[in-house]
Amino acid sequence: MTTTVTKLEKLVGKRIKRKEDPRLITGTATYVEDVKLPELLHAAILRSPHGAANIKSIDISKAAALPGVVAVYTGADILGVGSVVCAADLPGLRKPVHHILAQDRTYFVGHAVAVVVAKDRYVAADGVDLIEVDWQPTQAVTDPEKALAAGAPAVHPEWPDNTAFIHNQEGGDMAQAFADAEVVVKQRIVSQRLIPNPMETRGVVADWKQADKAMTIWTSTQIPHLARSILAGQLGLDENRVRLIAPEVGGGFGSKLNVYPEEALMGFVSMKLQKPVKWIESRRENFQTTIHGRGHVDYLEIAAKRDGTILGLKLKLIQDLGAYHQLLTPAIPTLSVLMMPGLYKFRNISAQVIGVFTNAVPTDAYRGAGRPEATHGIERMVDMLAAEIGMDPAEIRYKNFAGKDDFPFLTAAGLTYDSGDYAATLDKALEMIDYKGLREQQVQARAEGKLMGIGISTYGELCGFGPSPATPAGGWESATVKVEPSGKVTVMTGCSPHGQGQETSFAQIAADELGVPLDDVIVLHGDTSIVQYGIGTFGSRNTAVGGAALFYALQDIREKAKRFGAKMLGVEDGEVVLADGHCTDSNGNSVTFQQIAGAAYRGIVIPTGSEPGLVATRFWEPSNFAYPYGAHIIVSEVDKETGQIEIKRYLAVDDIGNIINPLLVDGQLHGGVAQGLGQALWEHGVYDDDGQLVSGTFMDYAMPRARMMPWIESAHTITPSPVNPLGAKGVGEAGTIGSTPAMVNSVVDALAPLGVRHIDMPMTAGKIWKLMQDSSIQEKKA
């Protein structure tokens, strides 16, 4: 019949509030800690109080005798369980065996030594206190440069040089670059240890069913399928009999892109006791045992012409690995090398990465993972070079940007940047903030004795991980679209969003492609028994990779729906269009998408060569990373008396490709900026020389609070990525990567009149005050 088809408004590109929120704002969501099972037992873990120590003996008898304690296990009990997995590899990499409970020695404060299982968490905690360990502490080493020095204590006695690997990468001709250089600027730059601190700590519930030889594990993870594969291996179980559920996950930022000892340990306990068991990490444990981020000491040298033309960048990167390799530990600093050139067209890089063992919790991926460190390096060096040759920091960037006609752009590090117009983004930022006017204001402010700074960072990053050859565990992503007979749509994504909002943005994509209402689409994720194999959520990949997989699955559904529609309308396959939820022939006759779905399942009318049902699954492999970029500008003022930094303005202009939901993009950006400013200004994971984590609680580790954050002004330029059909790049890490160097550049600019040329992070008020003291003393001497 002829029908009037109403044109549907496109949902992609709209600020749509999230579908996942109702459960979260009413307190009815289910995080791991909320999981309840009959006869659930509770575990608590005894951890090493020492940075390095031998375990001479462990006496569990008092703990085991405590009423309510069901079992106590130590290192001797878990030898049948596989050790913690590191998926990254490098030539010659030294991989220490990381048992899920320590054997005869502990390597960092927090190292798991024994587990007490009890009827409730209170008794379990009491039991932990009753275990007696005869410790023999040995000298720890926590500073990676000290660990490399001759005579340093060996973290792993078998490797006295504390060196896990040395990785070299060269691009171009560095010797020539330095021979041609008219100016060389050198700087040691530290990217300090950071503690990811998602608001939900880790937690695990394991439930073994002997009769089925089946294990269900709830764990707060970003990678449910990879975690399942690894845990099945560690526990010696069939992968298809392990169901891993990442329920509501309260933030990760890379720290849950990992598989930790406690996950296999709870599986082991549940199998031993034939009961379900729960372990919830305390905040103190989270500080001490969940991976940390960054931990770089970078020695950088930039070679250039006096006109500002950059010729090359040399890097010696000392990576503080901690005591073990977690899932990706050794791979993270290699990402820094890849991003060394930033947005610039110079052709020569040379990098040496030295991975160093220390008596500390392992470092691994934390928001940005290697790229913030690299961006901080290049963006600081560019500013220092500009200062050295007396050039404006914006000007020097324009001079060295890859041009908009240079794409695809092959960088000195061997990457191929997908698309961009870097100058346009910086143009927009400078115009929005009135850069010229600001510089005039600064002259005035300086004349009045005020320390006003303007900091620019033009960052680039690689994200949308990624082509499989470039990733340790597959870089593709999967999506299934399941249309029910009623026409309701269920999307199952292999991504595992935990706050990023793909239940909404993926529903927007599906609703647009199928012409169904947003409410008709639900997005499922995070349960390996429901969702096809997937990779997970990290590296700003959900939309660029998972969204692309979804897009192609939706195209399959569209094709099949059109064939059913044509059959129902009695016309040839090619004679219909599917739009606005209707399949319409050239005469204007149409059937609805819902009618098609019903017919596809009723099975009476089946197009030739087709089959009943309306389900499609796609695994999509990207051909390249995606490369977002942007320009962040911070105006700051330093209090001359106290060294306190005030952010007067924060502007971010980002190019993250096409935008699915601007509301979510704003949220990602703001959160990223908060973590970047956290690193620049306050956060620091500090170990003392004995291996104690001094900043081991929220009393001492300064997380950004509402009163510490500036108002963030933001805007975009849009250069679609040609890598995926959505044209999306990624925004999860952009704010973190762009903000840190902008902040440091701003404060260095503020203090430039005092002769300050570099400041290491975090730029605490006390550090700035000391710097001003020292500078003014020098001034007086001079």
Partner: protein, 155 residues
């Protein structure tokens, strides 16, 4: 063990508890209201914020026995019985003031107290008011917007 009597979200409860049981564990594990979250043990993250006798408190830093006789409100008690959201909940939703959602119940509960004491707060006053609550996802900007939106709605 001690017997305590409390009203939670308008319902009366009586239980025997160990004196050392934290109020948050009582709410989550004895009563079964898991909307209130434990984010730290040093009373610095605010994820566990609830209302006791009209005052926002951190339920991880209170023993259940200290709440004997008290009237408690948790995030689960905010929406109307028919499911109509509280204006603060609506505002958090509209403004995308949450991502992972873990801090959100505490944020919503402290917002209620902020607005009860200051129905029309400035940005600065909002940020000061949120000082006891950590969020690692949002950078707080959308939370500030949500508090403003809720204020406009007369929450």
């Amino acid at each position: 063990m001690r017997t305590i009597n409390v009203s939670v979200n308008g319902k009366q409860y009586s239980h025997e508890v160990e004196p050392r049981m934290l109020l948050i564990h009582y709410l989550r594990e004895v009563i079964g209201l898991t909307g209130t979250h434990m984010g730290c043990e040093t009373s610095l993250c605010g994820a566990c914020t609830i209302e006791v006798d009209g005052k926002a408190v951190k339920s991880c830093t209170m023993f259940a026995v200290q709440a004997d006789g008290a009237k408690i409100l948790t995030v689960e008690g905010l929406a109307a019985p028919d499911g109509t959201l509280h204006p603060i909940q609506e505002a958090y939703w509209t403004e995308h003031a949450l991502q992972c959602g873990f801090c959100t119940p505490g944020m919503i509960m402290i917002t209620k107290q902020i607005l009860e004491r200051n129905p029309n707060p400035t940005e600065h006053e909002i940020r000061e008011g949120l000082d006891g609550n950590l969020c690692r996802c949002t950078g707080y900007q959308h939370i500030v917007n949500a508090v403003r939106t809720a204020a406009k709605a007369g929450a």
